[in-house]
């Protein structure tokens, strides 16, 4: 296990009945990096994320967090570890019965003791940090547009100042301008706050723009992990198709490379 790995996945096996999704899967997430995770539909990217988050029990293998086996942690330790994670789920997963501000305050209420007035101020700060206008704070998730919902979910993910941010398709469903703004927001935040980011995405522009390394899920395991330039030289057919197909070339041209 490499020294600077914040999260390590070893020999992971995931299966739904006879249908094996991951087999002998290894992955390291290094401290401070933005790691992109790509793979075809149905290769189990979200399942891998859920396994890392402990939402799903692995059918074999282990997930290590700073060298500690996640499954071996006590409930209290797990709670501590969880408070260092921020997760942006694919559809936001905001609590629909709470306003945006209350959504952001929910993890604060749960994990931290501070005066309510300060909590509201901090929630307001996080909402601004995620790029939302103050008027959005008192609205309910169902009253927000898709992009605003993503930002609100990001604000909630950032509420506890996590060390690691997990993003599941953060720019899916956003217009290109909104997606680019979201990318630069994540890059900026990760630099300013020293965040480690694991990002599942299909957005080739995002991969080019902000990811330090990209992991490719194919053939039931992580086929390759490398900076995107190195990855593009990888002979694996799916990777070639992915980066050198029409969309891949367009994204590359957009990057001026």
């Amino acid at each position: 296990m490499t020294q600077d790995a914040l999260i390590s996945v070893r020999d992971l096996r995931t299966a739904f009945g006879p249908h094996v999704i991951h087999e002998n899967l290894d992955l390291d997430i290094r401290r401070g990096e933005i790691l992109g995770l790509v793979g075809g539909s149905g290769t189990g990217k979200t399942v891998l994320l859920n396994t890392i988050l402990g939402l799903k029990q692995p059918d074999g293998g282990d997930v290590f967090f700073e060298g500690h086996r996640y499954g071996g942690l006590s409930v209290a330790e797990r709670r501590k570890v969880n408070s260092r994670w921020g997760v942006l789920f694919q559809n936001g997963a905001l609590f629909t019965s709470l306003t945006v501000r209350e959504n952001v305050m929910a993890p604060l209420r749960e994990h931290v003791s501070m005066p309510p007035a300060l909590m509201e101020e901090i929630a307001g700060m996080k909402i601004g940090l995620a790029g939302l206008s103050p008027e959005a704070a008192d609205r309910y998730p169902s009253e927000l547009s898709g992009g605003m919902r993503k930002r609100a979910a990001l604000a909630r993910a950032l509420a506890l100042d996590p060390d690691i941010l997990f993003l599941d398709e953060p720019t899916a469903g956003l217009d290109p301008i909104g997606a680019a703004a979201f990318d630069s927001l994540i890059l900026e935040l990760s630099q300013a706050l020293g965040l480690t980011v694991l990002m599942i995405t299909h957005d080739l522009d995002s991969l080019h723009a902000i990811c330090d390394r990209v992991a490719v899920l194919a053939d039931k395991k992580v086929e390759a992990v490398a900076p995107i330039e190195a990855l593009m030289r990888n002979p694996h057919p799916w990777i070639q198709e992915y980066f050198h197909g029409p969309r891949g070339r367009a994204a590359l041209a957009g990057q001026g490379g």
């Binding site: 101020e121 700060m125 996080k126 601004g128 008192d138 100042d161 060390d163 020293g194």
Partner: protein, 384 residues
Amino acid sequence: MRGKALSQVDAAGSVIRQDGAKTVVELHGDWTVETIGSTDADLRRVEETTAPGDIVIDLTHLGRVDTAGAFIIGRVTRRCGEPDGDFHFIGDHPTARRLIEEVRARTTVCSEEAPPTFGFGKALARIGAGLEAMAREILDTLGFLGRTMITGVTSLFVPSRLRLTPTIWAMEEVGVNAMPIIATLSFFIGAVVAYMGANLLQSLGFSVFTVELVGIAVLREFGVLITAIMLAGRSDSAFTAQIGAMKMQQEVDAMRVLGLDPFEVLVLPRVIACTLMAPLLTFGAMISGVFGGMLVAWSAQDISPSLFITRFHEQLDWSHFLVGMSKAPVFGLVVAIIGCRQGMQVGGDVESLGRRVTASVVQSIFAVIVLEALFAMLYLELGI
């Protein structure tokens, strides 16, 4: 710094000292979201009592700092014209200054929530709004009934538009699957009625009248009432939840766009199923209720089943049975209409689903009881 195991967080603290005209706030320990709660009051006091230009923050002893910590530190100087000016800070820290500026640039001030108001006028307004909402609900429900009727009549003329499979499915769900629980409930109700009558009638020497008591009570009222209430609790809530969930997932919108009428696809099959199955369920409930009463009469009052059945035939008019049965399709219709309408009213969030399911069950039970009373008055006037 960042990334240190979480258990090793030092408490945040501040020492405030006067240095000439300046007020120096010395920061100690780690200033993170977990620790800053205790420092809030002190820093607020400094911010409010000191001239903004005279505040100096000493970062020398500052440990870890995150955005929440940066926010609360930066808040101290926010009233100054130049909140991030160099004269505000002494001591070096690798990230604090940058983080404070970053956070300040992005912080938005949220509007205060309006305080709740109380008072007599407010109470009256709420009562008025409640009454208006109730009147509106009744009107809308009638409108929904009308629209369903029109859809129903249309599909009478064009039978191919009637969705047979969903209708049969709904009949199984509403009717066949509900039979055991309705029969069981009705059995016990019949037994309870017989027990209640048993003591009183026995003391008067008319214990044989238990047969009439059970017969009239179960046939006229309880059979159909138990059925209607079970339909309201069981099927009506399911209708609202099913249609409501489809509404939330935009399935109903998708149907409209595809040229399918949700009334035809979703509402009509359920309404037909409920209206048709209610009399059958009521019939089952009646048999089961009378059977329950008969068992009690047999065990508690020595009225043998053969005597019970003979007397049942001789003394009870068919009209009691018909009165009970006549109410069943009406109740079934009302319950299905309310359930489907509330389902269609569900909005985009989970809370509205919950609210609508509750409203649906409450309204349908309410409607059943009120209609029951109206029927009783009607049949009394008609002398049936």
